[in-house]
Amino acid sequence: MTIEVQFFGQLVDKTGKSSIQLEYISSMVQLKEKLFTLFPLLKESKFVIAINNKMAVENANIPEHAKIALMPPFSGG
């Protein structure tokens, strides 16, 4: 069982990937820890996390086969 994590904006530059597949993780806290281990540069980045196209709260549960997105703020215009 896996989950998909998609990166947007400058986060793609920081991870070197636009998306990855991870072994299933049930909690957001553990997911963040995993992502920070894989991509240390994410620690200094601002982003909001969405689970299945909905913004997720800090301690949300991640459903099986979830699609996760990490969305940073954009400033250009």
């Binding site: 947007f8 601002k46 909905k54 709260v57 969305m71 703020p73 400033s75 250009g76 215009g77």
Partner: protein, 268 residues
């Protein structure tokens, strides 16, 4: 009021649309929209809302036209380099549609400007290029209860959202996404990261569409949602925004608190 033959002819193609008609056209004529920033996003927004016949349009920008603007800021040409953006934009737009009342403000959008001018308009459009002004506009719109059409770009991607519009009992704003501004060096600007003109063109037109939808009531407004568009893959990702527990904590709750915030410092 009886509309002139010229009015009907000018807007005939949109009046003809199913679900639009003269009723929606008159709503546009009676609407006032303020666009903050006449750059890569602001130019297409202005051109399309003026062409569509929004009755009164304000333009605020403190910059002068530069050569490096011309790849994306399509209201300006070679002969405009060094001239005031808001003034030139208003002149070009007046040629496009003389029925629209245009107000040019060649100045920064600071707290005093926001508090004086935002109440004069029905909708505020964020077409700026920096977080200091984006948070200032967001907070002013929350305090003054003004609908805000947000747009921003980063390299080949862009974001669009509509804030302060009640949908299913919730009225959300930019601080529900990002309660605290990032520091300036955390996020690339167009000057640092680069930008292809087409991208702010597309995002600006999406903002113009949201403005028209908000005014006329057609379609489904992008309230409480963040749309992200990728120009390289032509893919659109939409996420539902929910209220952030830190949003209100970081928001100035009174006009005095708003006035005393130093937005430049918050974002530097």
């Amino acid at each position: 009021m009886e509309k002139s033959k010229e009015y009907i002819l000018r807007y005939q193609r949109q009046i003809t649309l199913n679900g639009f008609g003269i009723v929606a056209q008159e709503k546009l004529t009676n609407a006032k929209v303020l666009v903050v920033g006449a750059g890569g996003l602001g130019c297409p927004i202005l051109q399309y809302i003026v062409a569509a016949g929004v009755g009164e349009v304000g333009i605020v920008d403190n910059d002068e036209v530069a050569l490096s603007n011309l790849n994306r800021q399509i209201l300006f040409g070679q002969e405009d380099i060094g001239k005031d953006k808001a003034i030139i934009a208003a002149q070009k737009l007046a040629e496009q549609n003389y029925l629209v009342k245009l107000n040019a403000f060649q100045q920064n959008c600071d707290q005093a400007f926001a508090l004086e001018q935002f109440p004069q308009y029905d909708i505020i459009v964020d077409a700026t290029d920096n977080f200091a002004t984006r948070y200032l506009i967001n907070d002013a719109c929350v305090l003054l209860k003004k609908p805000l059409v947000f747009g921003a770009v980063s390299q080949f991607e862009g974001q669009v959202a509509v804030f302060n519009v009640n949908k299913e009992g919730h009225s959300l704003n930019y601080r529900d996404l990002f309660p605290v501004p990032p520091k300036n060096n955390e996020v690339l600007s167009c000057a640092e990261g680069g930008v292809l003109g087409v991208l702010p063109g597309i995002i600006g037109m999406m903002q113009a569409m949201e403005v028209i939808k908000l005014i006329t009531g057609i379609g489904e407004v992008l309230a409480n949602e963040l749309l992200t568009y990728n120009a390289l893959s032509q893919e659109i990702y939409k996420m539902q925004i929910v209220q952030h527990s830190d949003s209100e904590k970081n928001m100035p709750t009174t006009l005095d608190a708003f006035n005393s915030l130093n937005y430049q410092w918050l974002c530097s």
